[in-house]
C-alpha cells in the first residue's frame, strides 16, 4: 500500500529494507521475510476454562490454545516466536513484534515505539530524571535544527558525524539559505549558547540536560538498537577546571552503572573507551558495556569528558577568580532508547520478553479462572480485591478479566509480554482464601506456589518479596552468563579463539591503534573498554609483549 515510501537510493544491505511497508494485512511486520507456520495445535487434555486450582492441569507445557480460536485469531498467529537459540536476530524481532514493543516506521530505518515499549522508556526516564535533578542538573530544550556551519567548527566532530547527517534544505516551499542539520547530538549548539551564557566563574558549573530525539542516517538499522531517529537524554556541562569535568563524567557513568545493575538487572562493565572508539570530539569516553544473550556487546550508555575541544572551537570562555580568561572544561553524557533493546536481549527467552520487576510497566498480572457462570462472580471479586490490595501498596498490577480469552491463552500472552509475576485465582482458591503465584523467570511447576493467603498484609508482603527475589535472580543469572563468557587471554591466538567461539576476550593491552584496527579486521572484535576494575600485578601486552598498564575487553558488538 505505501511501499513507495522506501528510499530507493539507500540500497545497501539493511535489516529493514525488504519489507518496510505498512501493509495492512501483513501479520509479520517485523520479520525479514514472511514465514508460514501452522497455528499452534490443541494439546489434548487441556480444558481451557480450568486451570490454577487444579495443579496437574496447569503445567505450562500443556497450556495452549484451542485450535479453532487460534485459526481465526491474528493475535495467536503472531505469537509464534523463533527460538532464541535457533536465530537470535529473528527471535529479537519476533519478541518486539509479538510483545507489541515497536513497529517499523514509514521511512526505512525508523520505528514506531508502541505503548508497551514506550512505557519501558518512561520507566528509564522516571529514574534517570530524578537522579539528574538530584545531582543539580536542569532540563531545557535546544532546537532540533543546527546550522551546518556549527557542525563544521569542531574538526573531528564533523568528520565523525558528517556521513550520517540528515540535512534540511527546503522549508515552507523555499530553498533555505543555509542547509540545516537535523541534530545528531547537540554539543555544537550547546557550545554556541554556553558561549553567550557563561561569563565568569560564578556561572560555573553549568549543568543541563535535555530529553530529545536525534537523527543519524545509519545504513544498518535494528529496532531500538540502531534507528535513524531515536530518543535519548543528553547531558551537557561546563566546568572551571579539568578535575571538575572529570569528576562529573565519572559521576554520570556511575549513575548509569547503578541504574543498569539495580533497575534493569544488567551487569554492565564500566570502563574507558580506547582512543579509536572515543566519541568524535571527546578527550575521554566512558562507557557501560552489556553482554547480550547472543554474547555480543551492547554499548548501553556513554559519558564523555570533552576537555576543552569544543570550548576552544567555539570560544566558550570565562573569567576566573583572578580575572584571567579561560576556556571551560566540558562533559556530555547520554542514554537512549537503545537501552530498551538491551533489556530485551539480556533477559528474554524462548517464551518471549522477560522484564526485571523494577522496570516492568506491569509487575503482576492477575488471571481469574472460572468454569461455570456461577463461579464467575466470586472469582472476579476476589481478583479485583487482590488487585486493589497490590495497587494500594504501589505495585503495578493488571487484572486480565476479559472473557474473550481462555486462562491458558492469557498465561502464554502475559509470559510473552514478560510480566514478572502472575497470580491465578480459581473457584477453589476463592473458597480457601488463597491464590496461586507463578514466576516468569522460573518456568513450570518450580516457579509456582500454591496457597498464598489472600489476606492483604500477607499477599502484599509475599508479592513484594517475590518481586525483589526475581530482580536479584535476573541479575545473578545475567552476571553468571556474562562471567562464564569472558575469557582471559594472554596471546593474540587465544583472543582469536575466544572471539571465534563468540565470547569476550580480556587481556593486557598496550599496543597501537593500528594493532587495534587489525584485531577488528581479522576477528570482528573491538575494544569495548578498559574496565575500571583491573586485575592486580604486572601485565604484558598480549599483542606486542611490551609491558601493559591495563587489561582491555574485546568483543563483537552491536
Amino acid at each position: 500500500m505505501v511501499s513507495a515510501l522506501r528510499l530507493p537510493s539507500l540500497h545497501l544491505t539493511n535489516l529493514f529494507s525488504s519489507s518496510p511497508c505498512i501493509s495492512r494485512r501483513s501479520s509479520a511486520i517485523l520479520r525479514r521475510h514472511h514465514r508460514l507456520r501452522p497455528p499452534p495445535t490443541l494439546t489434548a487434555g487441556f480444558s481451557a476454562q480450568s486451570a490454577a486450582s487444579s495443579p496437574p492441569e496447569t503445567d505450562d507445557k500443556v497450556v495452549e490454545i484451542e485450535k479453532n480460536r487460534a485459526s481465526q485469531d491474528r493475535g495467536n498467529r503472531e505469537r509464534v516466536i523463533t527460538p532464541r537459540s535457533q536465530d537470535f536476530n529473528a527471535w529479537y524481532l519476533d519478541v518486539i513484534s509479538n510483545a507489541e514493543l515497536a513497529d517499523y516506521g514509514p521511512v526505512r530505518g525508523t520505528m514506531v515505539i508502541r505503548p508497551y515499549g514506550y512505557a519501558i522508556w518512561e520507566a528509564i526516564q522516571d529514574y534517570l530524571n530524578v537522579k539528574f535533578k538530584e545531582t543539580g542538573h536542569s532540563n531545557m530544550y535546544f532546537p532540533q535544527f543546527i546550522p551546518y556551519s556549527f557542525i563544521e567548527k569542531e574538526a573531528s566532530h564533523v568528520e565523525g558525524f558528517s556521513p550520517e547527517l540528515a540535512l534540511v534544505t527546503i522549508g515552507g516551499g523555499k530553498e533555505l539559505e543555509e542547509k540545516l542539520v537535523v541534530r545528531p547530538t547537540s554539543e555544537t549548539i550547546v557550545n554556541h549558547m554556553f558561549t553567550q551564557w557563561i561569563h565568569s566563574y560564578r556561572d560555573l558549573p553549568l549543568l543541563v540536560n535535555q530529553w530529545a530525539n536525534v537523527t543519524r542516517w545509519e545504513m544498518r538499522t535494528k529496532p531500538f538498537v540502531r534507528t535513524l531517529e531515536f530518543l535519548w537524554q543528553e547531558g551537557h556541562t561546563a566546568h572551571a577546571t579539568p578535575e571538575e569535568a572529570e569528576k562529573e563524567a565519572m559521576q554520570m557513568i556511575d549513575i548509569y552503572t547503578k541504574f543498569a545493575y539495580e533497575h534493569t538487572a544488567i551487569p554492565v562493565i564500566a570502563g574507558r573507551k580506547s582512543k579509536v572508539e572515543t566519541f568524535a570530539g571527546a578527550s575521554r569516553t566512558y562507557t557501560i558495556e552489556a553482554m547480550m544473550g547472543d554474547k555480543r556487546a551492547l554499548q548501553a550508555g556513554t559519558s564523555h569528558n570533552l576537555g576543552q575541544n569544543f570550548s576552544l572551537a567555539f570560544g566558550t570562555q570565562f573569567t576566573d577568580e583572578n580575572g584571567q580568561r579561560q576556556h571551560v572544561w566540558q562533559t556530555s553524557w547520554a542514554i537512549s532508547t537503545r537501552f530498551v533493546g538491551g533489556i530485551i536481549m539480556t533477559h528474554g527467552d524462548d517464551t518471549g520478553l522477560m522484564l526485571p520487576p523494577r522496570i516492568a510497566p506491569i509487575q503482576v498480572v492477575i488471571v481469574p479462572i472460572w468454569k461455570k457462570a456461577d463461579e464467575k462472580t466470586g472469582v472476579l471479586s476476589a481478583a479485583l480485591s487482590a488487585k486493589e490490595v497490590l495497587q494500594k501498596s504501589g505495585i503495578r498490577v493488571k487484572l486480565d478479566d476479559s472473557d474473550q480469552r481462555t486462562p491458558g491463552w492469557k498465561f502464554n500472552f502475559w509470559e510473552m509480554k514478560g510480566i514478572p509475576l502472575r497470580i491465578e485465582i480459581g473457584p477453589r482458591d476463592v473458597s480457601s482464601g488463597s491464590v496461586v503465584i507463578s514466576r516468569r523467570d522460573v518456568p513450570g511447576k518450580q516457579g509456582k506456589v500454591f496457597g498464598i493467603s489472600m489476606e492483604p498484609s500477607i499477599l502484599e508482603a509475599y508479592v513484594k518479596d517475590k518481586l525483589d527475589e526475581i530482580q536479584s535472580a535476573l541479575l545473578e543469572r545475567a552476571t553468571s552468563f556474562r562471567d562464564s563468557n569472558i575469557v582471559d587471554v594472554s596471546s593474540y591466538e587465544e583472543l582469536k579463539e575466544a572471539i571465534s567461539m563468540g565470547k569476550w576476550a580480556r587481556g593486557p593491552w598496550s599496543a597501537s591503534d593500528a594493532d587495534e584496527l587489525k584485531v577488528k579486521e581479522e576477528t570482528g572484535a573491538t575494544i569495548r573498554c578498559f574496565p575500571f576494575e583491573q586485575p592486580q600485578g604486572n601485565k604484558t601486552c598480549f599483542m606486542t609483549g611490551n609491558p601493559a598498564q591495563e587489561v582491555a575487553l574485546f568483543a563483537k558488538s552491536y
Binding site: M1, V2, L5, L7, P8, S9, L10, I22, R24, I29, R74, D103, G105, P106, V107, T110, M111, V112, I113, R114, P115, Y118, W121, S138, N139, M140, Y141, F142, P143, Q144, F145, P147, F150, S162, P163, L165, A166, L167, V168, T169, I170, G171, G172, G173, L176, E177, E178, K179, L180, V182, I189, M193, Q196, R202, V208, A212, N213, L228, E229, L231
Partner: protein, 508 residues
C-alpha cells in the same frame, strides 16, 4: 547567518541598549513598557526572564530551564490525567514520507506550505525527499489501520510528547509562533461517534485556569477556522487585552470518519459488519507558556503563578553594615529548609557579589511569586518580610507560623492572578448586534460577542471588510455555553437570522 538574523540582532540590540540605560540602578530592567510597546516588551521579557534564548535560525528558540520547568509541571499534571483516562503514551517517527503526507487532500492543503524537507543524507541526495512532521495524523493512521481489526481493538487511545516543525514565514514570536515547538498530540479512535465526544477540552481549561491562571473560553471553531480535514474543532480561547487579540489556547478535533476513510481504519463490529472508526486528535503546545507571560507579565518582568513556578519563594538576606551577617544567613538557610520540607519550592540567593536591591530586581524579572527578606530587624523580632510579586504588598510574618502563612499567600496569589486576569479579559468583551457596533468594538480592540448566521461566506466577507494594517477580524469560537438567542435576532454581519453567538476579534 541563516534567514533569522534580523529578529535576533534586534533583540540583542535592545538588550544591549537597555543595559546601559538602567545600569546605575540595578543593571536590570526592561527598556520597553507593556502598555506602550507590547511586542518589544514581550521579546525582552522572555529573554531577560531567562525563559528563551534567540537562536541563529529564525523562529527556532532555546527553551531555558526556567521555562522548561513550567512545561514539565503542566506535563506532569496532564500526563497523569490522561493515563487515568487509559490513554497510553507512544512515539511515532519524526519523518514522514511524501506519499502518506499527501493522502488526505484537505489536510495536506493546510500543511504543505509549512513543511520542512530533508533532501540529503551526508553528501548524497535522497531520491525522495522526506518531510518533518508538522503534525502526526498521516504518520500514525496507517498504523491504526494495521492495528485495528475488530471492535475489541477499540477504543485505541494514544498520545505522544514530541517536537513538530512548521516552517511559517509570518512573524515568528517565542512560544506563540515558532517553527519548531513542543507539544502533546493525542490521537484516539472509537467505534461510535458518541464515544468520540471527549473530555480533553476540560483538561486544557484546567491547565490554563488552574495552573497558568489564564481565563479561557471553551468553544467550537467555525467551518473556516476548523482543523483541515476534520469534522469540527473545539478550542479553549484566551485573550490578550494589550493587543486586543484572541489566541487559540489548545484544540481538540473531532475528525469524524474522514481520516479513517482515507487510511482504511476499518473494524469488524459486534454484528460482524465492517465499519469505519471515529477519530479525535487533540493538542496543546509550548504556546501555553507564551500566553501566560503575555497575560501576567508587567513592566518589571515575568509574573509566574505559584503553581507553575519552579521557585515559589526566593529568600534574600539583607545584611546592613555591622549587622549579624552570619545570623541573618543562618536564618535564611533555616527558612529555606523549613519551606522546602513543607513542599514549597524555596531558594536562597546567597551570592556575595550582588546587592539585595539587585537581587530584588533580578527575581522580580524572573517572576518569582514571593520574596522573603531577612534583615537585622527581622532577625531581632524572629520574623521575615514577605513581598508579593503580583501586587508588591509587603507583610511581616512570624517565623513560628511561616509555613501556613506562606502556603496561604501562595494560594492567594494564584487566585488573585486569575481573578485579575479575568477582570481584564471580561472588560474587553463587548456584545454587539450590528455591523456598526462591530466595527467600533473592533477599533477598540475588543473581544466581540455577536449573534451570527454561522455561514462560511459571511465570515469570509467579514474578513475581507475588516482587512487592514492590524489584520482582519475572524471568529475566535462559538462558546459552548451559549447565551439565549431571542426570537428574531439577526446576524450582525449578514442580517440573516442568527443561529448562534460567536466571539470575534483579531487573533494571533
Amino acid at each position: 547567518m541563516a534567514g533569522g538574523g534580523e529578529k535576533k540582532s534586534k533583540a540583542n540590540a535592545t538588550g544591549g541598549g537597555k543595559k546601559k540605560e538602567v545600569k546605575k540602578e540595578t543593571g536590570l530592567g526592561l527598556s520597553y513598557k507593556k502598555d506602550e510597546n507590547f511586542g518589544e516588551w514581550y521579546s525582552e521579557v522572555v529573554v531577560n526572564g531567562e525563559m528563551i534564548e534567540y537562536y541563529d535560525i529564525s523562529g527556532c528558540y532555546i527553551i531555558r530551564p526556567w521555562a522548561m520547568s513550567i512545561w514539565e509541571t503542566m506535563q506532569k499534571f496532564f500526563d497523569a490525567e490522561i493515563k487515568k483516562m487509559k490513554i497510553q503514551n507512544c512515539y511515532f517517527p519524526l519523518f514522514v514520507s511524501p506519499t502518506v503526507l499527501q493522502k488526505e487532500k484537505d489536510h495536506i492543503e493546510g500543511f504543505a506550505p509549512e513543511v520542512a524537507w530533508v533532501t540529503k543524507s551526508g553528501e548524497s541526495d535522497l531520491e525522495v525527499p522526506i518531510a518533518i512532521r508538522p503534525t502526526s495524523e498521516t504518520v500514525m493512521y496507517p498504523y491504526y489501520s494495521k492495528w485495528i481489526r475488530g471492535h475489541r481493538d477499540l477504543p485505541l487511545k494514544l498520545n505522544q510528547w514530541c517536537n513538530v516543525v512548521r516552517w511559517e514565514f509570518s512573524n515568528p514570536t517565542p512560544f506563540i509562533r515558532s517553527r519548531e515547538f513542543l507539544w502533546q498530540e493525542g490521537h484516539t479512535a472509537f467505534a461510535t461517534k458518541s464515544e468520540a465526544d471527549d473530555e480533553i477540552l476540560e483538561l486544557y481549561r484546567r491547565i490554563y485556569e488552574e495552573f497558568l491562571a489564564v481565563p479561557v473560553i471553551k468553544g467550537k471553531k467555525s467551518e473556516l477556522e476548523k482543523f483541515a480535514g476534520g469534522l469540527y474543532t473545539t478550542t479553549v480561547e484566551a485573550f490578550i487585552p494589550n493587543t486586543g487579540r484572541g489566541i487559540q489556547g489548545a484544540t481538540s478535533h473531532c475528525l469524524g470518519q474522514n481520516f479513517s476513510k482515507m487510511f482504511e481504519i476499518i473494524f469488524e463490529n459486534e454484528k460482524g459488519e465492517k465499519a469505519m472508526a471515529w477519530q479525535n486528535s487533540w493538542a496543546y503546545t509550548t504556546r501555553t507558556i507564551g500566553v501566560m507571560v503575555m497575560v501576567h507579565g508587567d513592566d518589571k518582568g515575568l509574573v509566574l503563578p505559584p503553581r507553575v513556578a519552579s521557585v515559589q519563594v526566593i529568600v534574600v538576606p539583607v545584611p546592613y553594615k555591622d549587622a549579624d551577617t552570619q545570623g541573618i544567613f543562618d536564618a535564611c538557610t533555616a527558612t529555606v529548609e523549613t519551606l522546602c520540607e513543607a513542599g514549597i519550592c524555596a531558594n536562597m540567593d546567597s551570592r556575595d557579589n550582588y546587592s539585595p536591591g539587585w537581587k530584588y530586581s533580578h527575581w522580580e524579572m524572573k517572576g518569582v511569586p514571593l520574596r522573603i527578606e531577612i534583615g537585622p530587624k527581622d532577625l531581632a523580632k524572629n520574623q521575615v518580610r514577605a513581598v508579593r510579586r503580583d501586587n508588591g504588598a509587603k507583610v511581616d510574618l512570624p517565623r513560628s507560623s511561616l509555613v501556613e502563612r506562606i502556603k496561604e499567600l501562595l494560594d492567594e496569589i494564584q487566585e488573585s492572578l486569575f481573578v485579575a486576569a479575568k477582570q481584564r479579559r471580561d472588560a474587553c468583551i463587548q456584545i454587539v448586534k450590528t455591523w456598526d457596533e462591530f466595527v467600533e468594538a473592533l477599533g477598540q480592540r475588543k473581544m466581540i460577542l455577536a449573534p451570527w448566521c454561522d455561514e462560511e461566506e459571511v465570515e469570509k466577507d467579514v474578513k475581507a471588510r475588516t482587512k487592514g494594517e492590524m489584520g482582519a477580524a475572524k471568529t475566535l469560537c462559538s462558546p459552548l455555553e451559549q447565551p439565549e438567542i431571542p426570537e428574531g435576532t439577526l446576524c450582525f454581519a449578514s442580517g440573516k437570522p442568527a443561529k448562534r453567538w460567536s466571539y470575534w476579534g483579531r487573533s494571533y
